[in-house]
Amino acid sequence: MQLMTTIAYLVTAILFMLGVMRLRSPATARSGNLLAAVGMAIALIATLIANHQFAALGAVIAAVILGAVVGTVSARQVRMTAMPQMVALFNGMGGGAAALVSVGEWFVPGHAAGAGAVSALFTILIGSISFSGSILAFLKLQEWMTGRPILFAGQRILNGLILLFDVAWAVVLLVHGSSAPTSWLGLLLIGALVFGVLVVLPIGGADMPVVISLLNALTGLAAAATGFLLGNNLLIIAGALVGASGTILTQQMSRAMNRPLMQIILGGFGQIKSSAA
């Protein structure tokens, strides 16, 4: 059983890489996406065969059906011009899932210890930032709120302090391990969620796709960290692949727009120059 799962994961990793390769040319791009989807299906089926003694089978089945239906319908119904915010929304869901997985593992006795605890806390931080940041990006692009940059005094300092607090708090949790009170972990979660919102607030307009691409790369890293937590090589490969390609893609997108990447990201830390333009 173990061997079959390992082989299935290897096939999936190969299909993911071939899929991304084919996505580099317009003629083969659609088949590349299909290859990646087939790879995903193989990995999921293999996982379900190996792990099906769910703590709550009914809840898992309901979650899968509901997720598949909502995902398909919303992806099919949405206008073509609304595609970027759909990508942002689905990306946020992935980040949230990674964070929830790590919170769940954190509470399983003996699972999140040593390097596992580092991976879990890293995933909770990055996944939550990606979750709230992506949802804010969705709200902005969907124009459910103003799409323009929102700036206020001391924004850069506030963002820096919150990030600093979050990293320091993660270290505190690391020292205490899973014996730390639940509310402590909640504080880390809330801090990361707030940081994700604050980082995307001052970014607007044409910069949004670049930020979504960056959040996409972050979710990839979160998935890879989940792989370290669970000792799952496929998650590490797929997550690293997305994290690395997402980073390069972000750079290329900002270059195509003739905007230095640092200016866009640091825009998240209080950009005054471009708001005047």
Partner: protein, 97 residues
């Protein structure tokens, strides 16, 4: 540091290099579909969500893992369908020209 952690780090580093190599120099029309497709690929956390849904205990664990399964399923299914639609638009636009 345990041995398996080293192996995992090797795998991570190599996959990062593959990711860098794959995406260097792509035409800018493909930026959005590539972002969307890689977005779907990190939906692989669904595998993690399934795994955790087996090992958790108690109500909190069940709620957390079920939530993770739901969100990750959205990521996978929505991600691939959106990418397919974006790329389908490419083809029709090309045919019209």
């Amino acid at each position: 540091m345990p041995q398996h952690l080293f192996v995992e780090l090797y795998i991570f580093v190599l996959a990062v290099f593959v990711g860098f190599q794959l995406i260097s120099k792509v035409p800018s029309v493909l930026h959005t579909p590539l972002m969307s497709a890689t977005n779907a690929i990190h939906g692989i956390v669904l595998v993690a969500a399934f795994t955790v849904a087996v090992s958790v205990h108690g109500t909190l664990g069940i709620v957390l893992s079920t939530g993770a399964v739901f969100l990750a399923t959205l990521n996978v299914v929505g991600g691939f369908v959106v990418t397919d639609r974006i790329l389908g638009m490419f083809r029709t636009r090309k045919a019209a020209e």
